[in-house]
Symmetry: none
Subunit: 218 residues, 4 copies
DNA sequence: CATGAATGAGGGTTCATTCAT
DNA sequence: CATGAATGAACCCTCATTCAT
């Protein structure tokens, strides 16, 4: 009867368990973005509507949960970079578009998550970051090659500056802030557009180089 | 006056008490900047070389200590603004100078301190912030009046952008970061220099307006 | 019988269910002996190769599992007592043989299991203990009747002393300990051999009496 | 004014703090003896009448508290050994006396405390154990030299056997047990009295040797 | 006024037990 | 009947804040 073996998946992943996991990650992303990286895990569990131990079953250490959120955010941002490259004909317009899109995806929320003893060299992270790296590098190089973007900055500079400028402000204190973020990005982008108006100290930051030093790329 | 018991002024600010207070504030500033805004107060006391209760005598609640540090940092930054205005002949060069100086004063470290239930409308804060406001406003207006800085940004935009770009990265993980901060500021400044290269969404942020909304100015 | 639906006996004790139960008990005994009485039930289930809920189906409360292990250990020790009585001609040699055999069966591991709210008066336990009681009583009485064992001790004294002397030492810290246990038993046995060298305080402990008081016989 | 410097002890140990520490240790000893080594620290604090954090201030890790109790118990037992040596003319009677006294001091409670990751090689422990070692060794050697105790056992055998025979039974289930303990010790002692009635397997356990292997001496 | 000690309210985590597939 | 997932109570520990010397 070979070939007719019933397709018994080893253990079907139980619909509700999957939903729970997703609800936890969603709640975590929301709360990390809103309230910073120190939100009590119990509150995330409550917001997700599950018991705290369920959270621990899915993410035995706090880092595991943080990493999951970082991964999903990173993936979404990579998508925006690819989109921008593909859909925008002017290469510096692509950089602008990506930058504003990254802000909307809350790229700035990543930084505070990388706190403490978070393992920045976890294989999954490295892999996902490679994809982001490649996508942004592509974006930046095109603009520079076309002479539309100053040549003395790297993809790393762009990512860090954008992340910082879009970092959530403490507490939920400044919802109004969002309105200003895009202004600041626009100013920064104006500073990035060729021709350069001033000289920069140090040398261009590459994502690769940043990763080597600290892993704080994104 | 020999022979007359020295008049005991009602509240003579005993020399050592004053020194203690200063040592506490200094220790707090250092540790907030180095290790983030969550350092245990006991550690600050230890670093200052005083008992924890002494710290509490001077600053009954944690917020009181944080506020003191914020005030002193703010004051130092105001000084830099004044200095830049006075000592730099070109008004946009003054803006550049102030911006880099503010970074060196760790203006970015202010943000993480404003966490939680910190009262951002405390009279002392408002007063100190007024002084900063005035100084930066002056700086910006001069540059704009001289046609050296784009007119569609406000002092609030400058302060927020600079604060964000210089925020410490999580942990002490990225000491290398410091090396890049001034690059990013320089790019931002290039974007601020007249003539404007793009239009900005929203309207210019004034420090006054920001204060009204959220108090997150600095 | 082809074509005829097999008669479903009302409670056929499905072969695999029986095997599961046995595997659980075995795993539990091993882990209790190896790692103490506090091993998480999930680990026992894992070692047994079944899901934790299967364990709970068979043993609704932790105590039910512990009791099963206690019962099986008790039964094995009873067997040793019977063996010793039957196979050893000299009645005190029988006592010696049983004592060392009980040690090898890990009689000492029983004590730590009786912790907490374990119900020491469960009918099954009482029944099994009766059998042990009878067997050891027989062993002891024979030796005493033959004048080979001092008369002022009871079967209860023997059981308790042997259990205590063979209790596992904390952690797995002292594997070397095993080497000494038989020495101590031998000394104890020398003290039990007639004629008595000293007077004993109190009166002989019978298993029956101990059961009445506390159930800690075994 | 040299020589008249006021004797300002660096920090007088505050009477109530000392009392608290003692109350904690006492409560711990009682609860360890009564309920085993796993009693929640919070309960010990409650029994001692202090907040849990006070306990943690005095004993930052659980081990630190356990060690303190072990040290004090060990010291008391050493005292009994010295007493017995000094005050009993017949050297084997001294062994008997010490053995029963050690039981009354709850020497058996030590074993369960040495659980888990307890550091058995802490300097303080080693020191205290050396004193015990010396005292018991002395006691045993005198009896053996006088021909009153069998020569094929060591001080280590005595200590382990006595510890085991007096270990508290699980829970507080068997208060009645205490009544029997001295009977069993008496039997053991009869087995230790010269002349030897049987041969012992293995070789005599010395406290020194035991320490080397596992630290479970007492 | 300065100090070390004390406090109790959480946060992180584990585990016996129950539930849904 | 078997399973993995879910649950909540309880433990350990930290830290802002208060108290006693």
């Amino acid at each position: 009867m070979a070939g007719v073996a019933p397709v018994r998946r080893v253990s079907r992943p139980r619909a509700d368990a999957v939903r729970n996991r997703e609800r936890i990650v969603t709640a975590a992303r929301e709360m990390f973005v809103e309230s910073g990286a120190q939100v009590p895990l119990d509150e995330i569990a409550r917001r997700a509507g599950v018991g705290n131990a369920t959270l621990y079953r899915n993410f035995p250490e706090r880092d595991d949960l943080v990493r999951e959120v970082v991964l999903s955010l990173t993936a979404r941002i990579t998508e925006r970079a690819v989109e921008a490259t593909e859909q925008e004909s002017d290469p510096f317009e692509a950089v602008r578009r990506f930058t504003h899109a990254a802000a909307d995806e809350r790229v700035g929320a990543l930084c505070p998550m990388l706190d403490g003893d978070f393992d920045k060299n976890h294989p999954d992270l490295l892999a996902e970051r490679s994809r982001l790296e490649e996508a942004v590098q592509e974006l930046v190089e095109r603009a520079q090659t076309a002479g539309r973007m100053r040549a003395d900055v790297g993809a790393g500079d762009l990512m860090i500056a954008v992340s910082q400028l879009t970092r959530p402000l403490p507490g939920t204190a400044c919802p109004s802030m969002d309105r200003f973020v895009h202004r600041h990005l626009q100013v920064l982008l104006d500073g990035l557009e060729a021709p350069a108006r001033s000289e920069l100290p140090g040398s261009a930051a590459t994502l690769e180089g940043l990763r080597r030093e600290s892993g704080c790329t994104s």
